[in-house]
Amino acid sequence: MSSKLIRGCVYLSAAVTFASLLFILLYIFINGLPHLNSDILSWKFTTDNQSLIPSLITTFIVLGLTLLIATPIGVFTGFYLVEYAKRGNKVVEVIRMATDTLAAIPSIVYGLFGMLFFVTFLGFQYSVAAGVLTSVIMVLPLIIRSTEEALMAVNDSLREASFGLGAGKLRTIFRVVLPVAMPGILSGVILASGRVIGETAALMYTLGTSSNLPSGLFSSGRTLALHMYVLSNEGIHVNESFATGVVLIIFVLIVNGLSTFLSNKLAKGTK
């Protein structure tokens, strides 16, 4: 009897999860697809056509620059924490606490910090630079944490084997540890990408909401998610907002698919 009940609950939960996901997808596609016309995909944003192309390109720019800065810093910090720092070191404890705390902070707090520090104090204005630096701070804990976990999951016997053959620390890390930890590190970077793509609150006050393509590092723009937020916030372009949602979802699906493909490919070489 009770096993039947549990089985029922399991099936029900799975069905609810799947159904709600399907419902959201369908809802956005049904409302958005009909409005995904040439106006919305035209090169320039004007009052007549709420084009999302500038936002799409800005999303690529912000995402690319953020990862370019955050990935090396995050990955090397992870390496320091696991491979170099002595166990029980006070600095390590402080860095860990800081990353854990940062990871739990709501993104609007990052947005306010970015506005006060980058936009106002450093005088960046609403700009790509301010937006990117704010996103970097936001995703660093994710990358550090996942790198740390991926490295700690690498069996110590492999490190011993490498040292036992007379290899130094650097060679051990790059030739033996890194390839094994790669899929885990990559999944952290993907998680970070997802966070940047979906971010609105932290970018609103740093990147700004200019509808045109930014002309340089110190000019404002908007990412797809921001674009969607602004359109629906204004209340008169809800249809275009849904169409943007469709593009955003397709974008996320492509990023996810690509990363799964990549990490499978990497993992194949090591397993």
Binding site: R87, S157, A161, S162, F163, G164, G166, P179, V180, K271
Partner: protein, 250 residues
């Protein structure tokens, strides 16, 4: 002739003293076995011989360990060169998650061998010396983790041989293997002593008596007795040794 001399050595992990006044001569081109119950210090001593203990935090050593008359704990010792000369095979087979070829070539590449032809030769020779060439010669590009545990351990031995060490340390190399693989490795070890000085930690008394020329019996961080294996197993001088090898404790 002694390849390694250990003189009055003490070792601490933090506050815990793991080895007390250990002295031992390890003769060249012979097999020396370390036996004794768990936690008696035999693995600790073998790991001191190529300074793998350096990786353990809070490990402190007093006394001398001489390799060919030179103190390996001197401050100007190059640890990487030492570990090239004193190779190690571990308890659990630990091949790298890469092809068999790259596993063997890892050591030589570390020490600067780049020429493809030279690497090919080293790989073949090492695999032949480790008596596994015939089993894997057609699968050199196969991942080393896809072969059996016994084969993996021989790959690890070949990997250690590829950097042309003078001494081979083996820390319970057969404890994770089945009897057939164990027999193969024991046979291999007796062949290898022609070229290498071998030190082997074992839990298995039969193994020590079958394979080794010299035996050191450890208990609670002290070497209780050491000497010729056959003499020690037929006519131990100390009561504790007799009790241990006759299976009364341990």
């Amino acid at each position: 002739m002694s390849k390694i001399s250990i003189k009055d050595m003490n070792l601490w992990y933090g506050d815990f003293q793991a080895l007390h006044g250990v002295s031992l001569e390890i003769p060249q081109n012979e097999i020396t076995a370390f036996i004794g119950p768990s936690g008696c210090g035999k693995s600790t001593l073998i790991k001191s011989l190529n300074r793998m203990n350096d990786l353990v935090e809070g490990c402190r050593i007093e006394g001398d360990i001489l390799l060919d008359g030179k103190d390996i704990y001197k401050s100007n010792t190059n640890v990487n060169t030492l570990r090239k000369d004193v190779g190690m095979v571990f308890q659990q087979p630990n091949p790298f998650p890469m092809s068999i070829y790259n596993n063997i070539a890892y050591g030589p590449r570390t020490h600067g061998v780049k020429d493809k032809k030279e690497l090919d030769e080293i790989v073949e020779k090492s695999l032949r010396d480790a008596a596994i060439w015939d089993e894997v010669k057609d699968d050199l590009n196969k991942n080393a983790l896809s072969i059996s545990g016994g084969q993996q351990q021989r790959i690890c031995i070949a990997r250690a041989l590829a950097v042309q060490p003078e001494v081979l340390l083996m820390d319970e190399p057969t404890s994770a293997l089945d009897p057939i693989s164990t027999a193969k490795i024991e046979e291999l070890v007796t062949e290898l002593k022609e070229k290498y000085t071998i030190v082997m930690v074992t839990h298995n008394m039969q193994q020590a008596s079958r394979v080794s020329d010299h035996t050191a019996f450890f208990f609670n961080g002290y070497i209780i007795e050491s000497g010729d294996t056959r003499k020690m197993f037929t006519n131990p001088k100390k009561k504790q040794t007799e009790d241990y090898i006759s299976g009364r404790f341990g």
